[in-house]
């Protein structure tokens, strides 16, 4: 998932310039790559020194980052006692010491609770607003939807689709969710929806089903009328944009079908 800030890609011509590249990128992996025995401040100061900031700059930068990303209260505690979210945030800000132009994040919120995830998302949005280009991988398509300007969907190591979240959603059309008053009418409802849309509805509960709509011809009113005619009473029926999870499932299904 690529989030373009206003910075153009780096002009790097040769691998020989690897040191220049290292000074301009940040990299955060799936684990918090910090020294657990040191304090948060100790880690930042060490990594700042190793990034070749002079001592007083290193100390100032460490404090700036701790302050800005809300870790000042925990700055002098060993990382061993940090929560998972705090470790990940410390790991993230360690990448920011040199104000990288491009930041690579490998599944930055895997295994975090919703609050910590929200905090990481918030930090990433701030960075992008400041002009950092963020390249992040994630298993959570919801995360991609929230953060990305541009998405590449990868399945079995191959890019199977690219585009903005809206473009990707548009490729599979809107969806209809129906909740029935009586679960007994489920088979009748499935038949009606299948006839109308040409797609197989999926049941998400004993009284709920969901179906992909073919390009914009169907109106909600028409669908409800057809269900009425088949003596199916809908407690609720709504059209919505598909989620990226559904986009992913459809894209990977389609690929398997063509492979067959």
């Amino acid at each position: 998932m690529v989030d373009y800030g206003p910075v153009p890609p780096l002009p790097v011509r040769r691998l020989r310039e690897a040191d220049q590249v290292r000074a301009r990128i940040g990299l955060a992996g799936q684990s918090a790559a910090v020294d657990e025995k040191l304090t948060g401040r100790g880690n930042l100061r060490m990594f700042a020194r190793l990034s070749h900031l002079p001592r007083h700059h290193a100390h100032r930068r460490a404090d700036e980052l701790l302050e800005r990303f809300g870790l000042m209260d925990a700055a002098d505690r060993p990382v061993l006692g940090y929560s998972g979210g705090m470790r990940r945030r410390l790991d993230l800000i360690t990448c920011l010491i040199l104000r990288p132009q491009v930041l690579f994040l490998d599944e930055p919120t895997t295994g975090l609770d919703p609050r910590s995830r929200g905090e990481i998302w918030h930090s990433i949005r701030d960075l992008v607003a400041d002009g950092t280009t963020v390249v992040l991988t994630t298993q959570y398509l919801d995360e991609a939807d929230q953060l990305a300007d541009d998405i590449a969907v990868v399945d079995h190591g191959q890019v199977i689709a690219t585009g903005t979240p809206d473009e990707l959603k548009a490729t599979i059309g809107d969806r209809l969710d129906v909740t029935l008053e009586d679960p007994a009418t489920l088979p009748a409802a499935m038949t009606v929806l299948n006839t109308l849309t040409g797609n197989d509805p999926t049941t998400t509960d004993t009284d709920r089903l969901s179906v992909a709509l073919p390009g914009g011809r169907l109106r909600l009113a028409d669908i409800v009328r057809e269900l009425d005619r088949a003596a199916v009473a809908a407690a609720d029926a709504s059209l919505r944009r598909p989620t990226l999870d559904e986009v992913f499932l459809r894209l990977t299904d389609r690929k398997e079908e063509t492979a067959r």
């Binding site: 040191d19 220049q20 290292r22 000074a23 990128i25 940040g26 990299l27 992996g29 684990s31 918090a32 790559a33 910090v34 020294d35 657990e36 025995k37 040191l38 304090t39 100790g42 060490m46 990594f47 020194r49 190793l50 990034s51 070749h52 900031l53 060993p78 360690t94 040199l98």
Partner: protein, 272 residues
């Protein structure tokens, strides 16, 4: 932001970054007062355990005091703890991704292994000093004057540094802090299979051969000789024990020649 360019500035950054990493190890110690206490208490426990518990039943061949005989063996034991510590720290960094972070930063490449081995030397010296202090308290002392005594301690320092490179290599090879931790208990039997605590003459032939060629034995014998402590081997002795000082120097040189290039190659290659 400084970018590495000339060989001279590379060398400068290697030294600066190495010192930063040495500082890291020292601040880790500050966060772990328990570790410091353990380091202080360990020599005392060893001296009591071996000097008084086992020593009460052991006869030194040429009739000397067992604790005078024992202390060079304990100095060797402290020296050989180097590779275990460095191995554990390298493996932990490798498994937590800290090593990959160093590599993704403009940090001088060689600073990491050199910083680790340098830090070990700095933290090893106080440990040795504590062991020496404990020895003096229980009646051990060097008998041959300043120069041989200094030579004995220099030998320990040289071998310790060479051994810390074994730790760098093994730590990079196992890449897993749990596997590294599992190897730590091997340290004690390795030290005991030597002349550090008892003379090797009484061991069965095959075991004696292993013990005599163990570098722990060479260091122990060299210290006994240079300190003038009892236990000098007599009669038909194997080469390393007949020439212990040369043997320690050869061991150190061989370890450095083998493990410095191996470690550097393993470090440069990782994650490529």
């Amino acid at each position: 932001m400084t970018v590495l360019t000339s060989p001279l500035s590379r060398l400068r950054w290697t030294l600066t970054d190495g010192l930063t990493l040495v500082g890291r190890e020292l601040s880790r110690l500050r966060q772990e007062p328990g570790q410091i206490v353990a380091t202080l208490v360990f020599p005392v426990i060893m001296v009591v355990l071996f000097g008084y518990v086992l020593g009460s039943a052991i006869q030194v061949p040429d009739g000397g005091d067992y604790r005078e005989y024992l202390m060079p063996g304990l100095f060797a034991m402290v020296t050989f703890s180097a590779w275990l510590g460095v191995m554990t720290r390298m493996a932990t960094d490798a498994s937590r991704g800290v090593m990959d972070r160093f590599r993704s930063m403009p940090t001088a490449r060689l600073a990491v292994p050199f910083g680790q081995t340098g830090a070990d030397l700095l933290t090893g010296l106080p440990m040795l000093a504590i062991m020496v202090g404990t020895g003096l308290l229980v009646g051990w002392q060097p008998h041959r004057g300043l120069i041989p005594t200094t030579q004995a301690f220099l030998l320990m320092i040289v071998l310790r540094y060479a051994l810390s490179w074994v730790g760098v290599y093994v730590g990079l090879a196992v890449k897993n802090d749990q596997a590294a931790d599992a190897m730590v208990p091997l340290g004690l039997p390795f030290t005991m299979l030597s002349n550090a605590f008892v003379p090797t003459d009484g061991m069965p032939g095959w075991l004696r051969l292993l013990a005599d060629w163990n570098p722990v034995s060479a260091l122990t014998a060299a210290s006994r000789e240079l300190f003038g402590n009892p236990g000098a081997p007599s009669g038909n002795v194997t080469w390393p024990l007949a020439h212990p000082v040369t043997a320690v120097l050869l061991w150190s040189a061989a370890l450095l020649v083998i493990f410095v290039p191996l470690s550097l190659r393993a470090y440069m290659r990782r994650g490529r």
